[in-house]
């Protein structure tokens, strides 16, 4: 079932978590300075908003609520059974396109890091995505 718009606000929290977690992980490596830089670098809220938009407009369209061979966001068994178990390979498939997965997941402007973030959210984010899906009653 298509719930991309309804779900986007709930996933926003998950994406915020990812970004915040990433920043915490990277403290001391220049991340805060980068976040504070103006004139070209998106600040944290802008980046989270951008990622939420990417997820809602592209990833969620196929990976939320569907079955029929498409691995669902946050559904561990859909991903654990994949032929490839290599995260870097999954990201590369998302970038290059693989079988029914279109290149860049149809996000024409996404960076490699954003594709990796979206892939990680889809695959590993069950702790984040499942509660968010439950909130809106998605299957």
């Amino acid at each position: 079932m298509r719930r991309s718009l309804r779900i986007s606000s709930s996933l926003f929290a998950g994406l915020t978590f990812l970004s915040m977690g990433g920043c915490a992980e990277l403290k001391g490596s220049g991340a805060d300075e980068a976040l504070a830089t103006s004139g070209g670098v998106l600040n944290r809220s802008q980046q989270v908003r951008r990622e939420a938009r990417i997820f809602a407009s592209t990833c969620a369209h196929c990976h939320v609520g569907h079955s029929g061979g498409i691995p669902r966001a946050g559904v561990a068994e859909d991903w654990n059974g994949r032929e490839t178990q290599d995260f870097d390979m999954l990201v590369q498939h998302a970038i290059e396109g693989y079988r029914d997965m279109p290149p860049l997941g149809t996000c024409s402007y996404c960076s490699r890091a954003e594709i990796a973030a979206m892939t990680a959210l889809l695959v590993a984010g069950s702790e984040i995505v499942v509660p968010a899906l439950a909130e809106v009653g998605a299957d």
Partner: protein, 465 residues
């Protein structure tokens, strides 16, 4: 590296954090804070089918019109707009600046009396239905694939099917265009009418459409029925079936003498049933491979698998008209005069069987009403659109090359966003307003900044300066 749940969480956090590191700057031009570029990671862009690619210096997603205008004013080299990349023709590839409007999305405003809504062109079609529903409106018609960005769909006159119903472009009542020089033009049938007639289907050659005002209607519910029918029956009754339903299309199943008839009508029914098998087409391929390309056995196999089962889907219009199309393919589509449609499709099917062309992907047949959009495939004539598909892992050229000349004999116009082999010399006589469009394009983009190699070929235009 094999992963565990814990490792993935860690990777997710790191991956998300990476986008804020200095090495992943998201600016491409000074002052364009929302433009995302990837010169450092050098990612190539590819279309949905994966057969066209480019590695632009800048892939940008401006956050608002001001950023877009600044980007256009400062960009050097070729500029191309991009949506979801769902075109099967090389409209997008360029080596300089690729602009996506995805970050400008949603309903801007609406008028409950006229049932019109202004929408950001970066809105994906699958987001548009729910967004309009929230303001008490619905699209009058829409394509069966809803991955596309609205701006991209309009640039190619993308369409659905239905008696008395036009393409998406035909429901545009006004739009805002950011020109290559960085001006914003608001146009409609009364203001800058020539730009309006050209920009509703422009192949992205006039600049970047940012906002679109759509003529809509009140939300409605649909009931779709799919039945297996002998192809001879479908061809004989095509026009009667079109006139009997709000939407009618069929999927001819090559080598079988069968077709799937899909009719859709309004309903008051409450229940929602939208289940479908998006990968069913793989079953056709497996059946074909299993019977050794024996047409009669294949037909019997399909009769057993598909026969007698009538599938019903029911729900809000935007969910019934859209279908899950996960299986990737390449596509060629021509629109022939509506009254020529059945004969054209019959000749295509006869050719496939006579020449034993091994294509089993369903051939889609739809009706679309005439419009006044200058470069629309439906300009000034009702059309029957016939779509040939091939799996992405198969060679599409033998199939397309064998069938394309049939379309030419019926006066076909190619879908701008799908594969075809025509250039400007053979296209211009198919459109009464070809020269009118060229004048508008020349005025808005005198240097040809929006022209990539494909657009130069199909529009017969060249870069200057």
């Amino acid at each position: 590296m094999r992963w565990t749940r814990r490792a993935l969480i860690r990777d997710a956090m790191v991956a998300a954090g990476l986008v804020t590191l200095p090495g992943f700057r998201v600016d491409g031009l000074p002052g364009v804070a929302s433009a995302a570029s990837a010169p450092e990671d050098g990612l190539a862009w590819k279309n949905w089918a994966g057969d066209y690619a480019c590695r632009p210096r800048l892939r940008a997603a401006p956050r608002d019109e001001a950023a877009l205008v600044e980007l256009l004013r400062n960009a050097t080299g070729t500029i191309r707009p991009v949506g979801a990349g769902h075109s099967f023709s090389p409209l997008v590839p360029c080596e300089d600046t690729l602009i996506a409007c995805d970050q400008m999305s949603g309903v801007i405003g609406f008028d409950a009396e006229t049932m019109q809504a202004e929408v950001w062109a970066g809105t994906r079609l699958h987001e548009l239905g729910p967004a309009l529903e929230r303001v008490g409106q619905a699209l009058i018609n829409q394509p069966d694939i809803d991955d596309q960005a609205l701006g991209g769909a309009l640039a190619t006159s993308t369409h659905g099917t239905g008696q008395g119903m036009g393409s998406l472009s035909s429901y545009v009542t006004g739009l805002t265009l950011a020109t290559p020089s960085g001006d914003l033009i608001e146009c409609d049938a009364d203001r800058d009418a020539e730009v309006f007639h050209a920009a509703r289907c422009s192949l992205g050659s006039l600049g970047v459409v940012t906002r679109v005002r759509m003529q809509n209607r009140a939300p409605y519910r649909l009931r779709e029925t799919t039945t297996l029918v002998p192809m001879d029956e479908l061809l004989a009754q095509a026009e009667a079936l079109r006139d009997a339903h709000r939407h009618m299309e069929f999927m001819a199943l090559p080598h079988s003498g069968l077709g799937l008839l899909i009719t859709t009508d309004e309903t008051e029914g409450d229940e929602v049933e939208l289940a479908e098998d998006p990968q069913a087409v793989y079953g056709l391929r497996e059946a074909w491979d299993a019977v050794g390309q024996n047409g009669e056995v294949y037909r019997q196999a399909l009769m057993q698998v598909l026969g007698g089962a009538t599938e019903v889907r029911q729900g809000p219009s935007h969910r019934v008209l859209a279908h899950d199309r996960f299986v990737r393919f390449r596509e060629m589509e021509y629109t022939v005069p509506a009254d020529q449609g059945p004969a054209c499709l019959a000749e295509i099917l006869e050719t496939i069987e006579r020449e034993q062309i091994p294509v089993i992907f369903p051939i889609e047949y739809r009706y679309v009403s005439a419009d006044d959009v200058w470069l629309s495939m439906f300009n000034d004539r009702d059309g029957a659109s016939i779509s040939i598909h091939e799996f992405v892992d198969a060679d599409h050229r033998p199939v397309f090359d064998a069938i394309e000349p049939i379309f030419w004999r019926y006066g076909g116009r190619p879908h701008w966003g799908k594969w075809h082999s025509l250039g400007a010399a053979r296209l211009k006589d198919r459109y009464a307003h070809w020269d009118d469009f060229a004048k508008v394009r020349d005025r808005l983009d005198p240097k040809g900044k929006m022209l990539n190699a494909h657009l130069s070929t199909v529009l017969g235009a060249e870069k200057r300066g």
